[in-house]
């Protein structure tokens, strides 16, 4: 009895995660109010963290929450609070051009699903040791890892430069 109960709970949890991802993403692109868009984005990113957890990587899930919600979204929120309260009048309504990405996404998704149809999807129960990720990032993949940090440094320097140009001293 417990087994079926647990199964129902997991199904419900998975449905909630999917609802968060899809609903949040839809809210983020369709809402008229900027702050609603923002919280749609937060919901979608939180849902993606749930998906990572479901796929067997709690580390990635926690990192998703920490980086995307704790850092990226907070930075966006900081920008939002400094802009004028826009939304209703500041945004244009969706026009016909918005249909192009919708068609593309639907085509891609249906192609992916069609290629998967009939195949059995096996979840790998193999647990990846988190410390191995660290060893690989600082071992075999050291060069790409360092290149990414250079990219970030360049972005930071660029932001500071832009801020300094418009500053009257």
């Amino acid at each position: 009895m417990f087994a079926s109960f647990v199964h129902t709970v997991y199904t419900l949890a998975f449905a909630t995660i999917l609802l968060l991802v899809v609903g949040g993403a839809l809210l983020a692109v369709t809402a008229r109010n900027l702050i609603h868009c923002f919280f749609g984005l937060v919901g979608a990113l939180l849902g993606v963290a749930g998906l990572y957890y479901n796929l067997g990587s709690p580390l990635l899930a926690v990192m998703q929450v920490m980086i995307y919600i704790g850092a990226v979204c907070v930075a966006i929120a900081f920008g939002l609070t400094l802009t004028r309260k826009q939304g209703e009048e500041g945004m244009r309504p969706l026009d016909i051009k918005a249909a192009i990405p919708v068609v593309l996404v639907v085509a891609m998704l249906s192609a992916t699903l069609k290629s998967l149809a009939g195949r059995e999807i096996v979840a790998s129960a193999r647990k990846i040791d988190e410390s191995r990720i660290g060893w690989m990032l600082l071992g075999d993949y050291l060069l790409p890892f360092e290149l990414i940090s250079i990219l970030l440094t360049v972005a930071v320097i660029g932001a500071v430069t832009i801020a300094l140009i418009n500053r009257r001293i």
Partner: protein
């Protein structure tokens, strides 16, 4: 995945009990500490030394009407207290309060607690924006500026400890301090950490988003009855979590002579909470620019230098 549903329900009940009891005790303690620091007694009427005062206040708040302002953004306004409170139930799961007193030993426990602690700001921002009130909005935007200033020093502190202990697991970090608490090796880091958790829990001298004397009550100005009390439950629970982390990261967690583990845990934890209360009732509030200066120009370089020196010493 093999934990039985009964166990999960028991854990949830236990955590809810901790959240509720902790808030009741801390609100009473806060008023008592404030009173004695002002040379008065604080609450004395309900129960011995006013012990049941918070309970009476809680019942009163339950009976009040929850009002939503006409101009408020209704969904955001209703969601905000929930967003503040819910992460706490997850963040308390990996906290070890004793040798065996831990809901779930998780090898990335520390990261989980820190990541969920950052979500508190989103609740404050939601409340600030959803209330459609200028004081609330100012409080919300201050909370966001504040999180940007303290987050990096906080993460650097935690990274240093992770480096010393060689693990993300809170249990392993506490066990690594069997021979000497990290506060003895890292006194500067402990000070930085205490300052950042005062910032994280929005407490005076850094209570910019609330700031009674400038912003009236800041982000929760429009909240009445249970909405208001949920914010307070969240605030005191975040204090509990931040103090628990401090006791595990720097004071060896549940380890100590003579007394059993959970008693040591609670002693250390409430000792740190008392320190935070002491700050609140002795220091005047800083200005927001002074806080940004402190965060970006003092705490961040100090934490960074400390991190590099620790890395150098460990490498030798």
């Amino acid at each position: 995945m093999s934990i039985s549903p009964v166990t999960i329900v028991c854990y949830l009940l236990g955590i809810s009990a901790v959240v509720g009891l902790n808030a009741v005790i801390l609100v009473w303690l806060e008023r008592k500490v404030a009173g004695h620091m002002h040379f008065r007694y604080g609450p004395m009427e309900v129960g011995p030394h006013g012990l049941l005062q918070t309970l009476a206040d809680g019942i009163k708040l339950l009976g009040k009407q929850f009002l939503v302002p006409d101009a408020a953004d209704r969904p955001l306004f209703l969601l905000a207290p929930v967003v503040s409170l819910v992460p706490i139930f997850v963040a308390m799961v990996p906290l070890p309060l004793g040798e065996t007193l831990q809901a779930w030993e998780l090898n990335i426990g520390l990261l989980l607690v820190v990541a969920l602690g950052l979500l508190n700001t989103l609740g404050i921002l939601l409340a600030g924006w959803g209330s459609n009130n200028k004081y609330a909005l100012l409080g919300g935007s201050r909370a966001v500026a504040q999180i940007l200033a303290y987050k990096i020093p906080l993460l650097l502190c935690i990274l240093t400890i992770i480096m010393m202990a060689g693990s993300y697991s809170l249990r392993q970090i506490a066990l690594a301090q069997k021979d000497g608490w990290y506060i003895l090796y890292q006194p500067l880091l402990f000070i930085i950490y205490i300052v950042t958790i005062t910032l994280e829990t929005n407490r005076s001298p850094f209570d910019f988003s609330e700031a009674e004397s400038e912003l009236v009550a800041g982000f929760h100005i429009e909240y009445s009855a249970m909405g208001f009390s949920l914010f307070f439950l969240a605030e005191y629970s975040y204090m509990f979590i931040a103090a628990a982390l401090a006791s595990i990261l720097f004071l060896g967690g549940w380890q100590g002579p003579f007394l059993p583990g959970p008693v040591w845990s609670l002693l250390k934890l409430y000792g740190i909470i008392f320190l935070l209360m002491w700050f609140r009732w002795t220091f005047p509030r800083l200005r927001i620019d002074q806080m940004l200066h402190l965060g970006w120009k003092i705490l961040l370089p100090l934490a960074l230098v400390n991190f590099l020196v620790t890395a150098g010493v460990l490498a030798l």
